[in-house]
Subunit: 292 residues, 2 copies
């Protein structure tokens, strides 16, 4: 997915918000805003939006002299997610179709995404989970996904954020462990999941977990490690979580199941859906599950 003109104001907003979150120093805020304005003015718009996010967060980390300013946020959301997921174990175990329930909860994890917010009301979390568990769901989509999992020799599971990765465990547990490799970012960027978060979620005990060698908030293959690129090509089924991975992989000729919530008008336009919709979409560009 390329950058739209409408992404420009959003880059500035996000950069300003991020700068304010990591420091109260207004000089840093100004440096960040002016840097992003300059960057955007000459931008190659054929890049995916996370390429800009990567550069913005490089600068912010450099200016504040902190390699992982979201570390505490990520920890907080990991712990919160663990608490929520403990209560959901019975839901999975007792459900008629645990795989379907696990997909629904993987979407819930992407929606709950605390990001950099400090808190989320318990009632909001409960509502999101109920919505995801009860939404209309195209049963044939589940069948397609089951068939793809069964026939795949190897499955690459691209995670998105800290906290959300705890929810992903439900879905990963439903997949054949010997086929699955989970991927996290190579270095911290925003609240994206890294190896530390995969360990916290217990994924390293279940399946192979690798990192992609990059600190882009998405999967920009050209910027990933040689090892990751090689494996990305080898795997015959990919499960991709979240907006950043969608924005960077939506044009790839691979069999990818995208699981995300459409969080902004531009991705919604790209997906042909409404903002806020839950998306479970195969990369052949046929949406096989979509719920408003």
């Amino acid at each position: 997915m390329k950058i739209y003109f409408d992404c420009m104001p959003c880059f500035i907003c996000q950069a300003l918000e991020a700068a304010r979150l990591v420091t109260d120093d207004e000089i840093v805020h100004e440096q960040v805003v002016r840097y992003v304005l300059k960057l955007a003015a000459d931008l190659d718009m054929s890049q995916p939006p996370p390429a800009i996010g990567q550069q913005i967060h490089h600068l912010i980390r450099k200016l504040v002299g902190n390699e992982d300013p979201y570390r505490e946020s990520k920890k907080r959301f990991n712990h919160l997610a663990l608490e929520i997921c403990r209560d959901l174990e019975d839901t999975i175990a007792s459900s008629e179709d645990p795989l379907e329930t696990a997909i629904r909860l993987a979407i819930a994890g992407n929606i709950i995404d605390l990001g950099v917010k400090t808190s989320i009301a318990e009632s909001d979390i409960a509502k999101i989970i109920t919505d995801c568990l009860t939404a209309d769901f195209d049963k044939s989509a589940i069948e397609q996904f089951k068939n793809a999992v069964e026939s795949a020799k190897s499955i690459l599971y691209l995670t998105d954020n800290a906290g959300e990765i705890v929810f992903d465990r439900f879905l990963i547990e439903q997949l054949p462990p010997d086929k699955v490799t989970v991927v996290v970012r190579g270095k911290p960027v925003i609240n994206d999941a890294t190896m530390e978060d995969a360990e916290f979620a217990g994924l390293t005990e279940l399946v192979e977990v690798i990192d992609n060698g990059s600190d882009a908030p998405g999967t920009i293959l050209e910027l990933c490690s040689e090892e990751f690129k090689r494996r990305f090509e080898q795997f015959d089924l990919i499960i991709s979580k979240g907006q950043g991975n969608y924005e960077t992989l939506s044009d790839k000729q691979k069999d990818i199941f995208f699981i995300l919530k459409a969080k902004c008008p531009m991705i919604a336009r790209n997906l042909g859906c409404e903002v806020g919709e839950m998306i479970f979409k195969r990369s052949n560009h046929t949406t096989i599950f979509q719920k408003g």
Copy 2:
């Protein structure tokens, strides 16, 4: 009022919206967006926001080769306002305090501002007018204003937009005609009122109407004609309509009554009010009327 960091994304949004309104040519959209990004990157933030609006609209007019791309919008809103105001004549005539009612309707005119939107629901207009006519109102503010009008030798009435200027007629009719001079912009910019609109509203038959010699969407004195600057200094009471005039005159040491709706978070922060509040504020920085 100076530019805040948070104004930057808004400049980009406004520029993109304006470019899209006047042409479907995506090359122009891109030129406008990139120009504004460059402009903002090196911006002197001590300027008032309308200084940027002025430059954005210079460029847009130049790129589309049209000196007044909002002409039809302005005409449409003038006619709509005339229709609405015909129905309000009785309201003024029969009201206990016609001056107070006229001030309330002058605020309504600023709120209804169609801007560049193509239409507004009749029910929305009716609600805005009812809200403005019934809102809590500090009676002492009216008294202050009446005293200021009575003791002033000369009153300068700075108008804001086309359409809105038709509503201003009610308030102008309540002022001593020999004291009042109405001011419009010197050249078209966005949907701001020019001499043509003052004529349409019938103001030229009532009082002296002059233009400020500038095409900024506000009153940037340094960019106004020498004649206007001289008169601005001579007049001892100023009535200023709308956000653009507030943003450019809020720091001036003159006796100014500002009449506007706070339309964005930054002006609300500057005024110490909520977005959407109706403001009737004297320039000594004491808000004498404010309603949520």
